[in-house]
Subunit: 110 residues, 2 copies
């Protein structure tokens, strides 16, 4: 089992993290990661080309939002929740609120 490179907690940068989250597909990946402890790189029910998805995962990992471990042929992704919460208190909560709020104009749950 090896892990792909990722920034150290002290190198997390707010603009980079916000940019990584500022995309509807990556927000959906975040929502799924927050609900499940770990996910594969090809989650079900996402109609996104594999290469596009791979790019989204890379952006999230390089921003420090996720960790990726490689186990055989499988890539397992986790949310770096504790590190993000320590570095940017309340930020993830505020973003994830979008998916739990009964908003009239929020995105429908997937």
């Amino acid at each position: 089992m090896r892990a792909l490179p990722q920034p150290q907690p002290e190198d997390l940068d707010l603009a980079t993290v916000l940019h990584a989250l500022g995309d509807p597909v990556r927000l959906e990946l975040l929502r799924r990661l927050a609900a499940d402890s770990e996910t594969t790189c090809s989650p079900e029910g996402l109609t996104v080309p594999r290469s596009t998805l791979s790019n989204h995962w890379r952006i999230l990992r390089e921003a420090g939002v996720t960790s990726t471990r490689i186990s055989g042929k499988t890539r397992l992704v986790t949310l770096r929740r504790d590190e993000l919460d320590a570095r940017f208190p309340r930020l993830l909560d505020a973003v994830l609120d979008e998916f739990t709020r009964p908003a009239a104009n929020g995105p429908a749950p997937a």
Copy 2:
């Protein structure tokens, strides 16, 4: 006095807002807007080309983060704080925390 076009509060989109904030220059503009009630489009002390700055302001306005009023030859920008707070509770607070926290590795105040 006229205003440039901007999205209605009900059309504010989380991914679009996060993308607009996911840039170091735009984060600095946000910090200044949060500190001052209104700013011109050419704030002092920013070493950013005028055309680049203009593009940043456009991205912020089109995402619904700011309002721009035109008064003669002057463009005055305000933060749409109340509308953003209503639509995305705690989000701006979490982002602006970065500039008030005595973080060892946070950005230096401008």
